[in-house]
Amino acid sequence: MAVAEREHAAVEVVDLARTSLRELNQRLHDLSARPGPRQWRVVNPSGAHAVACGLDADVEVEIDGHVGYYCAGMNKLATVRVHGNASTGIAENMMSGRVEVDGNVSQSAGATGRGGLLVVHGNASSRCGISMKGIDIVVGGSVGHMSAFMAQTGCLVVCGDAGEALGDSIYEARLYVRGEVVSLGADCVEKDMRDEHLAQVRDLLGAAGIDADPAEFRRYGSARQLYTFKIDNAGAY
């Protein structure tokens, strides 16, 4: 192995107690234009916002501790793992790659995400997967109210329970919940679990590294009754 390759294989450690967020993100962004370390470890995040957001390179970033809002926002290609909890908007508008949180996440996890996989091993608060546009989200625990609101495409797999108004005003996203659903939102209905859906849940659980039986999940999606505005449906809102 050449010297340069060995250097690139080493883990680059960034201590946010000593290094500014701006410097960290700039160094990570620079990787989209020129080669550098592929493995990064961020220590002492101390709830900082916007950690590792806007990445556009096939790198792995491990974050030791809790992060604030918008960690891994608009992620492309990168793998970001948070060994702690994450606040609002983890992986918002993610395009591709993988974001994984060991703990719990606050509201709007994976909001408007267009691709990639978001894995939350703990619970997710309200509006998980709001307006999702192609992202896949797997939550090991439960999700809060108004999750998958106006969800367009992609899959939300919830191994625990779902709060009020799941899938309100949903479009074409697929929702799978193993536990109880407090209530379904406007135009969201339970649908049959066919073989293709069992396979999809199995694949997503496998990708997330979560051990659960796909047969225990139920599927929810759009009744497609609100796709064209009709005054007769006004009472549904």
Partner: protein, 442 residues
Amino acid sequence: MSSTAQRPWNLRESYLFDRTVIAEIQRAAAEGIYDIRGFGAKRRLPHFDDLLFLGASISRYPLEGYREKCATDVVLGTRFAKKPLELKIPVTIAGMSFGALSAPAKEALGRGASEVGTSTTTGDGGMTPEEREHSKTLVYQLLPSRYGMNPDDLRKADAIEVVVGQGAKPGGGGMLLGHKISDRVAEMRSLPKGIDQRSASRHPDWTGPDDLEIKITELREITDWEKPIFVKVGATRTYYDVQLAVKAGADVIVVDGMQGGTAATQDVFIEHVGIPTLPATRIAADALQELGQHRQVQLIVSGGIRSGADVAKALALGADAVSIGTAALVAMGDNAPEHDQEYREIGSASGFYDDYQAGLDPAGISTQDDELAARFDPVLGGRRIANYLRVLTLETQTLARACGKSHVHNLEPEDLVALTVEAAAMAKVPLAGTDWIPGSSG
């Protein structure tokens, strides 16, 4: 009874229930749904027409109209951004979506704006390659729907505009009706073709000014602090909105008055929510001055800008620039007399057409129908936009020179008087011929 001239004097039309009101009640009873339309507020509102400039006289020297320079350049985003926008004129093109407008119309806006050195803005639906290619300076909107939002386009943009609201419908979302959803629009918005596409009224991942501050930080981090961040609000609680946007870290604040246009909104919303552009302009400038941020955080005003007089008056009240939307569509050929017969065939007429939501625009501007859109020549449309922007600029300079200003930004409230008590109170300038500013303790 075909005309007013033939109406007997004993027939008296009700002021409350005039023919427009009667027609709307009858339409509502027949259709069972509120009226959705485009355009902006049509009711009479206090506006810049209610202000006049005090030209130079013995105590003020005018500039020689054809000899002395009156600069019009404006720099937007000087507060935090590494790369502020440097525009040659203080008139920009407001956000209008691909989806609401045809691709050739968006291209024309870019061509025209670029020709005269100003910016254009995307809309709800994302950035098209044509728009980027033909817009030298392009502002990319971050809207609640996030349709078409992606980090690549974010980095391609010259500035980012976080849209909290718009003047036609502050507090409201949007709806692009299914018949305007072509294959391309559907793909950009990640939704099936032909279904109504709703735009939420709130952002999906932030609520309130503290969150907004963090959101702006994220956008700056993603774009390495290069791009100016605009925050756009519909004019309502303008004083607080402007101060909160400053606190949240905005480089530029866009205040859109209730005359601002829309592609599709309920008529009741357009006509009854928000405050006019005139008071909003003065309130916004005062809010910035109170924070010591006037000219540090730039102010763009929009909503009913039609002429250089409107531009000059907005600048005199404290704006750094204005944006045009409806006027730009009209400049490109919207509501043109040559289409009158076709407008009539779809239940409207030249000068009245406001059904932008319907997608049937014979001018090929507010449509996604390929045949209709093909009628619109983006090169000619761009030239018309450039011509119109030049006229606005020349008119603004004419008024500024008359007031003795070597830069249009040197216009000030002291150059203005009001024609009505209402306008005097809203603009905080004296009623013409008096020293009375209603509401002023002085």
